[in-house]
Point group: D3
Chain length 286, copies 6
């Protein structure tokens, strides 16, 4: 796999991390370190993964420490997207003890959350690797973290669906209600949308597919269908559109869904409900 590319310049990444540090530091700063650790104490520390998983956010974690003290020496031993095992050390640092202790929680919060997203994504990706199906995320992301969570999905081997309401049309049941049926909505969209924008139409019954295809849908989303019905849908569509499966797909059901022949399986919970990957900091006095 080609390594995933972080979507923002270093300065923008640092701005995100700085905001998180400031959220943690408030106006008082790190009282505990200021009071219990002397200014010239040095230390070494390692970030260790406590459970197996897939890494995402290593540069953000490193930035949390570097922004606390530019004189820290930081070495990253893994790459975003790497599978790691329990006990593996993914980052080492040495330098001012206070800075390590101050940056610790912010670093681990980024790393644990994003690696959690990458890890769940990878589980799904692995579960369908005997098929051509792709695992893909949704817009069900944590407010403020969309760019990072979508990046974490890529780290887990997944693909990204739309990044927001502006990069792709997704005509869902509610739009179809507000418009005048699938055919009308899709034809209107085809006529009026920019030439770089794809049109996806959500269907929940097989008899809607023909309208969507005739309207010019690039992608058809099969919403909450059984794998058997999906297989029928795939046949019906016959390559005239990309087929996306969606709705309540779990690690248990994803293989069957993939085997139905769909091209893409979109899963909301890899971004909105992935548990944190357990990562910790082991600290040695200088």
């Amino acid at each position: 796999m080609t390594a995933p590319v972080f979507p923002l310049p270093a300065a923008s990444r640092d701005a995100i991390v700085r905001t998180a540090l400031e959220e943690d530091l408030g106006t008082a700063g790190d009282l505990t370190s200021a009071i219990t650790v002397s200014a010239d104490a040095t230390a070494t520390a390692e970030i260790v993964v406590r459970k197996p998983g897939v890494m995402a956010g290593l540069d953000l974690a490193a930035a949390a420490f570097a922004l606390c003290d530019g004189s820290l020496s930081i070495k990253i031993n893994a790459k975003d997207g790497d599978r790691v095992t329990a006990g593996e050390t993914v980052m080492k640092m040495s330098g001012p003890a206070r800075a390590i202790l101050t940056g610790e929680r912010t670093a681990l919060n980024f790393l644990g959350h994003l690696s959690g997203v990458a890890t769940e994504t990878r589980r799904l990706v692995d579960a369908v690797k005997h098929t051509e199906a792709r695992i893909c995320c949704t817009r069900k992301t944590t407010p403020g973290l969309r760019a990072l969570e979508k990046y974490a999905v890529r780290c887990g081997g997944g693909f990204n669906h739309r990044f927001g309401l502006g990069d792709g049309l997704l005509i869902k049941d509610n739009h179809i209600i507000a418009a005048d049926g699938i055919g009308a909505a899709t034809r209107a969209a085809k006529k009026r949308v920019g030439h770089m924008v794809k049109i996806e139409v959500e269907v929940d019954r097989l008899d809607q597919i023909q309208d969507a295809l005739e309207g010019g849908a690039d992608v058809i989303m099969l919403d909450n269908m059984s794998p058997e019905v999906m297989a029928d849908a795939v046949k019906l569509i016959g390559g005239r559109a990309v087929v996306e499966a969606s709705g309540s797909i779990t690690l248990d059901t994803v293989a069957a869904v993939a085997e139905s022949g769909v091209d893409v399986i979109s899963v909301g919970w890899i971004t909105h409900s992935a548990p944190c990957l357990d990562v910790g900091l082991d600290f040695q006095g200088g």
Copy 2:
């Protein structure tokens, strides 16, 4: 229970929601609604809870719609902190169809995430209600959302630990390494910290407790001990400090921990790994 208080003024709450809307809208805006729904179409819609849980974030969700179009009529049928059952309608709105569709995802992302935190918190709170123990969160929060997640914990009947590094001293193993043992660290802290700041000391063995108490700790955190050892620790401390249990506590083990007599049980996963509560929007054409 007294209803939880949202920590920020309405204008600050709206600023948070606006940032999330802008993340979703990008520079293109909601192409699908713009293209498939006419400007004068109206609709009614309801936010319905799909799984039982505890609500948190209703005002944020309402703000997501209100910021899209101030002319929407929005009625909130529940309060943050309320237990809700599957199928329950917690918000109704009517007005411009486009605004409902544009605000939908942002509203649900806030509501699902925060209600997820409240729901998991409430499960723990219920599991220990036969004791005096409190359930409490940590600083293991999603970057950028600490104020909201800590509020969601309160909605679930939990209590908040420190809001950041500046409102309380928490002398952990790493500080103790960087300082010179528990006694020295605690005494130094007692002498130098402001009079409104409490001092908590983390111990992982019973023989560290005496040092912490003599140093003047207000709170002693028992890290990763069994309920039996915790009971011994509680006896040893004998009311001279608040006792907090911490480390890998689950819904299965929390009752036993509470029964050990500790005052507070802090749990990181209610903020960093709570799954989203399933909430959806049911839309009716105007």
Copy 3:
């Protein structure tokens, strides 16, 4: 034509206008009005178009006044996208004289700039209306104003190309150099890109088209070709991809380009070099 939809919520629009007002007010505020106009003076005023054109930005202009004084009564007499003639009044307001004078320049700067973009776009759109070709903008926008300028293009009857680097692949000559030829670049893209992302490939010679088509390009951009060569390209492509013409197209040449049969004509200068539409404020003392 369906009226263009402003891409952002009212609160976001007001935030943009407030930033512009603050740029004009600095820390001193509007000294001239403060000193020469009394606090209780009232006035009426009109925004009048001095040259024929197409409107864009009326709500932004109104917001500039409303943010200066919420008590102003403002009436907008036209819609964004409307063609207007010289002398036409597009907005009327009455209320505190100071607020009108303070908001004037900010309002006119938005309205003149965006209407300028809409007006130039409309000229091109009119020039090709005997064909099926669409006029479309590029990413050559003024830093900070992309959302607004792309909206202004829609007001002028144009379409939008990509909103940024993240909503569509555009494999240009430089990418082709950095990759390994058109075929390789396109095939790699097809394999790795998300299913909602279209792939466009820039070609400057006819013999590159086959590679692009085989690689799976959704759109082929003909860069700096003569209308005759473009007609050949259109024939060669034969409906297998959308065809976009690009490069130094002017009001004089656009009809010939459109008549070559291309689907889309992208023009950078409608956003980066459109002259301001001449709009002014006629003021009457209260």
Copy 4:
């Protein structure tokens, strides 16, 4: 000519450029480069001017690349304010190919826009160089870019009028209506304004000049007068105030205006309607 001074510290300049980069990158980042260019590909590239003009914004353009990747080696071959000829290379860079491609559009958007302003300014300045008249800009600038566009005017050899509503009084027709005639308005201003603030009064008839002078105007703006009437005004004023010509002055008419003896000629279109200078990036694979 002394080289113009950029008005902001480097950190502030970089913040402006970062905002523009983020506008282009959205939450997805540069998909095309991520997908078609390998992480370790290197390249060299040059920014080449395609049409003769005057440079402005070279440091901003360089910052766009440097913020994408700090390891790029960038060499600027010209200075802001320099006249350049078609084909001239003004910047060279080498390093990671992706960073060059990602920063390209943002860099060129700044450089083209600001150099466009400088180039138009310089044309006017050259046209009046046989006189003492200065060319000067107005507050008719693009929202959000005033500091940069006013700097570009200086790069073109022009001077700046007020930077905003707070650094100078400009009593225009509308203020005179809201106040009680030129004399009253000017006298009130003279009495109440700070001692570091100059007072300019706009007149559109010769018979208003005496009132303005008696009121204490430092500068008199002749609005929309013919060169002949301006010459009369200059005589009438007789050195008792600076004389500024304003209103619909073009490259064709500016020399005649200057020859009327006015001190300053203010021109709105050099900031609001200057076409982009054509600049491009020539890219060579590493």
Copy 5:
């Protein structure tokens, strides 16, 4: 006196107040009110001045309460610029008790600080009212509060010197060292500065005045001279420039300085060292 004009739109004023509220509320909010006051408790309260002074910042104070709860009824009984006596009530409010208690400190911090500046300014203004001399502030302001402090100076009857480095030239001793003497520096400035910018030159000896005048200074600042020497300087200058006195001027010495005939007396301590005016909130349970 004409009432001073607040320099910013209401939305900008509210943004400043909101930032201050958020500084006070942190991520936890107002714990004391949330815990000790019930949600439906109402109250009335008054802001009372405890010491005589001059008001500045009443709208900011009102905004602090209004932003906490839009349903509060707030009545302002005084105007910025008014002299008030000890015990005078300047604002009354009634409504939700929590909102009053939450907004109290932010409101009083703005009101006390700015009224302190206005009060000290007014003392100086009163002390020189038998002369024509104006009292004027400097750029020695509290970081982040310049617009507000300069406004407070106007509320106290004072005038404003430059608002920043960009609205006026002030050639001080250090510039003269960096340039090549007063004459050279002033002549260079005269030649190169915009026509709306005044030039002030600082002198500390009488023999420098002639150079400054010949160079074309609009204003001459007499730095740290005795009133006697200032009187000589005034004579020497003879109306050819505005004369400003500066340097260590106190309430005790200001009258003598004014009587020397200078036009303007600039005083740094009215902004950087004015003690807070004592204002308090008297609260009555609902």
Copy 6:
């Protein structure tokens, strides 16, 4: 004394300073330096303390220069918290003359203001050094500067009270009115507040103390009592709570207050009314 710790990372500190620089530079920049000083002029300069005091803000001052020009060589000769005498040089710098002149006022504004706070704090600390009493600040800070002013208090040897409304309960007279008496308010607080939050209760009569103690107050604030009554209160409390004295305490009265046996003396004016410490920049041409 252990040196005070600056509460924020360097990047956050620089962001604060950059905002202040931009406030001073506006959109025009430093006109005087641009016009009177050549780009290649170099200089050396020193920051000299004109009156004895205690330093706070040296790093902020250095950042003001460094952000203007990263090539300046800056050497800080003192530490925050150091006592300095009149005439002492605390910082030296050499490099581009323009950058020194541009950064001067911002640097001195930070340094003078914060050192003023530290100096006044230190006077009070010195006045009570024969006792165990601590000097402590309040929330009466300048809007926007709380983190810095509280840091300056620490530089002066003082301690910090609450940083905001969220890190400690302070039940004041107004809360007691809104609740139902001291006992009820304190008991409610004790029951509902987080375990890391201390509870302080304000009393103004001795007969209120018993209720506060029984309610579980950690700290009792004696508001506006005479030293004699305070001594009685201290006896009554008998070590069961920390005792804080508050209200109109001056340099003249603070020793007597401290001798009453209170633990903490909180003083609002050290942050809201401390006069600036007189610091200046001595400049030598290069």
